[in-house]
């Protein structure tokens, strides 16, 4: 098993080193300058997001271990890529997630209980995508990239690009998904139709057990060149660079300049899901090497060094995260199972006589047990 750490060709946009040193700005290969201009409060806000997102994720993992969730797909290690890109979205921008974008979901203002309903098995993730500008989770790998592309085509058809307040769309997917036909078709479509779309690939190095080398011979961000639009790699464990690169790509898209692919170079610190055992396919030293690049640690080091936050602040953030996690747990345990008859609801907007018949028959069947024990 290879020990994977920094990207082999070295190219990576970074604004915050693992030691917490700020890099003022980075100029990309096409001359785009990547920088952030946050207030002290905004820096602290990003740190708060990272800590809360990680804590809620850990709580969900614990709930799964205790039998309260069927399964959980942890984002551990990918907080910066998700919070950075999630906060880079403007209110009018639309996101199309996989099933691991709990951090982006949090940034979109969706109650973090929502995905737990899906993984607990009481629903299938039914938040309103249009209310939050965040679509439902998609479990079939890569399918959502085509939805994002179609939606982005619709944005352009509505005349909502080419202005500063235009709309952009972001499609999330992983390194494994880049092998899917749908993802490659979406690259073609987005390029041909100049769709206002950002492809945000979190390269966390593994598709369950399969390492990146099983998906590609070239760095993922360089795939974009073959489809005719820019690709850029960012340090996915750097929340500032993830923000800067995503914001630039979104603004590029909303201006009518077409798609960009971002490869957020990161690492899945945990298992693929709670059903997985990563010790079977990766070595401890690799995980340790990535621990040194932890996204939260470096943000804390930065705030500390710049005297933007003190111990009281860090303690207060930890306390808020703890409270939110407790609250989440309480509400998960209180989630009711759906009523059996709801099986038949919402199959069709206009209903179906077949389902009406089955619902009625099932109701009579259930009623036949009433009074018996």
């Amino acid at each position: 098993m290879a020990n994977r750490g920094s990207p082999p060709d070295g190219e990576l946009v970074q604004l915050l080193t693992p030691e917490g040193e700020r890099i003022e700005s980075v100029t990309g290969p096409d001359g785009t300058e990547y920088r952030v201009d946050f207030t002290d409060e905004e820096y602290r806000g990003l740190y708060r997001d990272l800590v809360i997102v990680r804590k809620l994720d850990a709580e969900a993992t614990a709930l799964q271990r205790q039998g309260e969730l069927g399964i959980w797909a942890s984002l551990l290690g990918q907080e910066a890529a998700q919070v950075g890109s999630g906060r880079a979205l403007r209110p009018q921008d639309m996101a199309f997630p996989t099933y691991r974008e709990h951090g982006v979901l949090y940034c979109r203002g969706i109650d973090p209980i929502m995905p737990l309903g899906l993984f607990r098995g009481v629903d299938q993730g039914g938040w309103d995508p249009n209310e939050f500008k965040f679509n439902m989770y998609t479990i079939v790998i890569g399918a959502q990239t085509l939805h994002a592309t179609g939606y982005a085509m619709g944005v352009a058809m509505d005349g909502k690009t080419g202005t500063e307040d235009g709309e952009a769309v972001i499609a999330y997917f992983g390194d494994g998904a880049t092998s899917q036909g749908d993802v490659n078709e979406s690259f073609i479509w987005a390029g041909v139709f100049n769709a206002p779309l950002v492809f945000f690939c979190q390269n966390n190095q593994y598709a369950i057990s399969e390492p990146l080398e099983r998906q590609t011979r070239i760095p993922l961000y360089r795939r974009a060149g073959g489809f005719g639009f820019p690709g850029i790699r960012v340090d996915g464990n750097d929340v500032l660079a993830s923000y800067a690169v995503t914001r630039a790509a979104l603004d590029h898209a909303r201006a009518g300049q077409g798609p960009t692919m971002i490869e957020a170079y990161t690492y899945r610190m945990g298992a693929h899901t709670t059903s997985d055992d990563p010790t079977r396919y990766r070595i401890a030293s690799e995980v340790e090497a990535w621990q040194a690049k932890d996204p939260i640690k470096r943000m804390r080091a930065f705030l500390d060094k710049q005297q933007l936050a003190d111990e009281a602040f860090f303690a207060e953030v930890d306390e808020q995260a703890r409270r939110e996690a407790v609250h989440l747990r309480e509400r998960v345990l209180a989630m009711p199972d759906p009523e059996p008859q709801t099986i038949f609801d919402h199959v069709y907007p206009n209903g179906s006589p077949l389902l009406d018949q089955e619902r009625e028959q099932f109701g009579r069947y259930l009623a036949s047990f009433e009074g018996s024990h």
Partner: protein, 328 residues
């Protein structure tokens, strides 16, 4: 005023009406623009409505359906053309896992009013993958509705009804009947047309009920004419809607005739005919004088064109089944 039109032209005018009525309707597919589609069903539409409403897509069927889902989430009403039946399979995942399930998964918050038009069935002397009947795959999938037209008049109204429905609909067009003509009341309002999800008696009769849809309705009607000369009265029901099935008129008919023959081009094994036979048996058991019989394509891949007429159910095979029903 009624006009005499081919089914292809009736579909073309129906699509035109839908584009006129609702600015959110977009047509997308391979070669649907300048060329007007390989069967010319979208002929002239891009010229009149522009290339952002009649969209020539890249050559990838999953992409057509997947982007249609995104457009639908954005508020559009995509009408996708799959060029031939045998080319729908690359899009199967998007249709079955995404289009069909979006409304259910979202507990009704997301609607994807997509119509997927598929020229289907054989009889045109085509090479392989151009003559298939994939309806059972889709009728088996909850969340999809499946319809098929059999006449120019139905084609004209049903395509408009399908487009204005919020349900995702697989719209199967019997390609061998594209050139057959019939009367179409072009000025009649679509609102007063026969309902989309309803079967209809295409020819009344008293002795045997023959169930058919799409390309086989014409075959069944021809069989009924031939049978009449021999003194047998066949009642032909055009099913029109394959999912959900509209079986009340079928049950009523079978209870009268006591006999039923189902005809479709698709292979018989685990096909729509099996579902029909099972339901008719459950509902009309004491009225049946004979088992429900099926006349279908064989359980083989679609054969080479020079022998497709042997594969396809025809007038004689329908009459043979009628004879067997009476011989029970």
């Amino acid at each position: 005023m009624a006009e005499t039109l081919t089914m292809g032209k009736a579909l073309n005018i129906g699509l035109r009406r839908a584009l006129e009525r609702d600015p959110k309707v977009v047509i997308m597919g391979e070669d649907v623009g300048k060329l007007g589609g390989v069967f010319r069903i979208t002929d002239g539409l891009q010229k009149d409505f522009g290339d952002s409403r009649v969209i020539d897509t890249p050559l990838a069927e999953s992409g057509i359906i997947g982007t249609a889902v995104g457009l639908a989430i954005r508020g559009y009403r995509p009408v996708c053309e799959i060029q031939f039946d045998g080319f729908v399979y690359p899009a199967y995942d998007q249709i079955v896992s995404q289009v069909a399930k979006m409304h259910y998964r979202s507990r009704g918050k997301v609607r994807v009013p997509i119509v997927i038009r598929i020229p289907f069935g054989g009889g045109i002397g085509a090479v392989e993958h151009h003559s298939e009947s994939p309806e059972a795959y889709f009728a088996h999938t909850a969340g999809l509705k499946v319809v098929s037209c059999a006449s120019p008049a139905d084609a004209y109204f049903m395509i408009q009804q399908a487009i204005s429905s919020d349900d995702p609909i697989i719209f199967l067009e019997p390609k061998r009947r594209y050139w057959e003509k019939g009367e179409v009341e072009l000025d009649a309002p679509v609102e007063s047309a026969y309902p989309l999800h309803a079967s209809r008696i295409a020819r009344p009769g008293t002795d045997v009920t023959v169930l058919a849809y799409g390309p086989m309705v014409r075959t069944a009607l021809d069989a009924a004419s031939a049978a009449a000369e021999e003194g047998r009265s066949l009642e032909v029901v055009d099913l029109r809607t394959l999912s959900p099935l509209d079986l009340a008129p079928v049950y009523e008919s079978v209870r009268r005739t006591g006999r039923c023959v189902v005809v479709h081009e698709a292979p018989g094994n685990v096909g729509l005919g099996a579902e029909l036979a099972a339901r008719i048996t459950e509902e009309c058991f004491y009225s049946l004088e004979a088992p429900v019989l099926r006349v279908t394509g064989f359980d083989t891949p679609y054969p080479a064109a020079r022998i497709e007429e042997e594969y396809l159910p025809d007038l004689d095979r329908v009459l043979d089944a009628v004879d067997r029903s009476f011989g029970w």
